[in-house]
Symmetry: D2
Subunit: 339 residues, 4 copies
């Protein structure tokens, strides 16, 4: 696999820049040909910083470029499905940030287009590639803890996003929990069939006024009998809190947070250490590299990407099930949402 893959990037916002930088500097396999952004200046800055030859405003310049073999879609969520369809139509492999769309039919259509075109599609659930979670998955898969019985996911952000963002986010279950829904399916290796969601507005009343909640506790029943919880908060004052535990017939495996250093201070008041890495850019930096590496490998080896279109669809279904469960205060089967 010494030959490089020509890549185009659509979107030069925060996550687009992250992908661009990593493709430029960390993934020798990639050759970034062009980057687009509706704000041309953003695309240009990104191109300058990471040595990308072409910066354009119109993403169609990327879609139409016969040189480009794969696109990295980091534009705004409401454009993802359309971008997928356009790229598929041009026979390009697709890496798309999550979620594909918030409308299930729209996702369905986009996946159809991908299927028809026979291109690869990988959805950006990067956490699967994090060393901690990968180790947990390995333990479950290889029977290191026996048959899994119980799952716990703790996933708390350091601080809530701006209220304007909350308003258009689709709600906590589709915006934040969606990553945890993917993690749950990934770690257990089975589908969820029923969800019960409790939650409330505990962090900031303004989030409630915007029609959302900021704290949630979700119970998952998997098809294979495992039961799990997801614990979400929009604000952990000590930083990004990302831990999981899977308990099984032969033991349990759990992960802790990642820290900037291992130093332990024994002082006059407490024994303490510094706060964990603050947010996802630092915490998951390596997993963002690994996911793109895996995507390029899947193209070059012609194998199924490790996160498929279906993996992009189901967490959205779960998000709707959780929302319905929360609103009606009862367990909701996924089949009620997406038959």
């Amino acid at each position: 696999m010494s030959s490089k893959l020509n890549v185009g990037i659509i979107g030069a916002g925060r996550i687009g820049r992250l992908h661009a930088e990593q493709l430029a500097f960390r993934i020798p396999q990639a050759n970034i040909v062009a980057i687009s952004d509706v704000i041309l200046e953003a695309a240009r800055r990104c191109a300058a910083d990471f040595g990308i030859p072409f910066a354009v405003q119109d993403h169609r310049a990327i879609m139409n470029n016969p040189n480009i073999e794969a696109v990295i879609i980091c534009s705004s969520t409401d454009t993802h499905a359309q971008m997928i369809e356009e790229a598929a139509a041009e026979g390009k492999h697709i890496f798309c940030e999550k979620p594909i769309a918030l409308d299930l039919n729209r996702i369905h259509q986009a996946l159809k287009a991908v299927e028809k075109a026979g291109v690869k599609l990988q959805v950006g659930f990067n956490r699967r590639f994090d060393a901690n979670y990968a180790r947990v998955r390995q333990a479950v898969e290889q029977g290191e803890i026996g048959e899994p019985h119980l799952l716990h996911i703790i996933s708390r952000d350091p601080a809530p996003p701006p209220i304007e963002y909350i308003r258009v986010s689709g709600g906590i279950f589709l915006d934040m929990t969606i990553h945890d829904f993917d993690m749950a399916r990934f770690l257990i290796g089975s589908e969820v069939e029923e969800i019960y969601a409790a939650g409330g507005v505990m962090v900031d009343p303004a989030i409630g006024e915007a029609g959302d909640i900021d704290t949630a506790l979700i119970t998952l029943r998997f098809e294979n009998g495992v039961i799990g919880t997801i614990d979400n908060s929009r604000q952990a004052v000590y930083g990004y809190d990302q831990r999981v535990e899977v308990f099984g017939s032969k033991g349990s495996i759990s992960t802790g947070n990642n820290y900037p250093n291992t130093a332990l201070v024994r002082g006059g008041q407490t024994i303490h250490r510094d706060l964990p890495l603050n947010f996802f850019i630092e915490r998951y930096a390596d997993s963002y590299i690994a996911e793109k590496q895996a995507f390029l490998d899947s193209i070059q080896l012609d194998i199924t990407p490790p996160v498929t279109g279906r993996d992009g669809l189901i967490p959205v279904v779960m998000g709707y099930a959780a929302r319905k469960s929360y609103e009606e205060n009862r367990p909701v089967k996924l089949s009620e949402i997406y038959p």
Copy 2:
């Protein structure tokens, strides 16, 4: 408080012996006058081992003894309510192992008798006196973690009890989770108003055949808005797993297991330590001492015992709510069980 309290013990089984030994050797304040057991030989062995002057078969010899100021009830669960009533009628202060009864009316009656007699009643929820949980409660009470938002209780036994025991236990929620229900109320300092219980038979099919489940995951909604989970398993192969976390607006506090030593071995395969303390007798030894100390103090200082009759009642109500929720797969309000 240099004067000693004369105590009688009813029941010389495993937990009766534990109380006898601790009262004899660890609590200078106590003077054990007599012990009774329906199996006279058990009472006699206990008396010999712990220097108790009188061993009798009939508990009434204790109830009628005007010298005895307080009784420790460790007889079989189905006799607790009656013992409480008899002791109350004799004006004796009462320490009673949990649960008071499995029938809510029966509990109600017993509590009435206690109220009428004006004696002290403390129920044996010893874990409240454990240093780990006491520290968590302190943090919550003193606002060290701000307003509490989320609670997690992990409570897993090292191995299931015999199937014969399971059959008469009242089911996992009333037999095992009952301790965690008490812990939940204690840690958060608010009542639970609704419970949703998921669970299954994952450890041993024989437990299912006996009409019970062995694994449970329970969601609690507290009156003050906190949401919590309890995670129960009848079998953690690595030993007794007892951990909690409370997450709040200013941080989180969590506890780990207790271990026989702090030694860490760096070997050729893993970095490891020995398994945690195996079961409740070792794990909670100190809390059993502290609860009795607190009971005797409450008598001598004439203050309310730290675990009241109501604290004995509500976890049973919660057990029924959890069972109903599990059977009907829906959230159940405690008011449906006990108005």
Copy 3:
């Protein structure tokens, strides 16, 4: 071994009271017959608190009591050797607090008397019975870490003793390091042949003015080739710091401090836990019980006590070697001190 051993206690100071309380309440095997103290009131208070029938001023009342089978010597250090000789002369088994004496000839004489009388003598190096150190010794003994190569002992007090105490203490090496010298021999199971001691006055100049140092770093060479260090400070502001590590051909084993609870607080500034147990009474409470249990067992089973007279002698030799090394700034062989 159901029969009890009649014990007399000499000395009712802090450590005498500790032994009395534990013998009274924690070790069923012991029957305390009498306690003596040159301050009669101290003996009387102790007797009252722990139910000891006789309290006397003159220790000879204990030595002469034919009922008493074993004595626990907790009088002032300068009387230990004499007490041992008197007890040996009366054919009583002896448990003696460390050190036996600060004069090597005096120790020698006392050990001769014990040998001649054929009684048991155990010296109070209680830390050997601590669960952490016992686990390390077990690992070394059973080859769990292969052949031992390197040893580290960290042993820091929470605060220095009063200057008056420092003045008569014999110096840090004989007063404080002596416990660590014993630990070193115990953990490695080999004799030390050479010592190099560095140190200084870093905590309090008054300690220097009293002719002592407060901080030391000692290198030990063992006969079996192992090399080790001991790290001593009279003041660790975070509390009693007692840790060891043994590194060997197949791995390493290390211990941490003991804490009042396992609670971990994630706060806005740090991730922290409470300070460790503050000082030896709390930290080593269980080891004090276990050492006396072992002493009584050695009498009843007629076996060698786990800490012998020689184990009492050698650490004093090491203390002198360390002092000489510090004064002359060169490695000193133990054979220079005690041929």
Copy 4:
């Protein structure tokens, strides 16, 4: 500092490749112009892998290239001093792997040449840039643990190098401990004035036959009164073991190892985690980036590099002092080696 620095790399062995890759992909500030290696093929492979325009056999092509502003010297140790002198003569800034030379006069000469030329020289003590050690240094510097009293450095390799390497390595003190000598000076911020080294052949007799030892325990006395130890072993079966502790008047700070993940497995035999990162390439990857970043910054900002020529000299002096101390079994002052 947006303008790039033109860099030449001398040496394309393991460490040369590491520097080349990081300069190419991780440090946008650097522009690698050429790489040389006496084995031309090695230089060519490196150039191909990391997009370096020119690969040459003769390092003088780099020295003579007026375009090149700085050189990275990764050739064999015996050429370092000469390379420094050549580069200085050409007015190029110099980053040189440690040690500058094993001959003190040779180092002296090289430093003179640098001083005369007025170029920057940074020596490759990368560990100073590791997040753990940087945090410890910060704590000491800012008084977070008060005045430092004691230092411990544990530095154990996963496995010994080949015997052929041992033979020409200069011995453990100059080959392995040299990094720890630098760390000691860096963490405490004071010079060492006396060293006492104990050690032995415990890992492999062949190392002894090659005239070296494989295990060492070194005592350091600093000018500011601090006392410290360094613990070295050529073989820790559990992997690369790199920990430090500084203890001071207001507390202590210690660091642990870095691990590939945070997963904790609770199994039927032990509670365990995976082994730490195996060796320096993985363990210190980030510190290698940071040291080069700091070097390039020091050129562009015209400030003193964070690791100076003197910082390259003193650890070699310390290595000779340790060797002499070990051979003569006595404390050796650094002034005996280098007045």
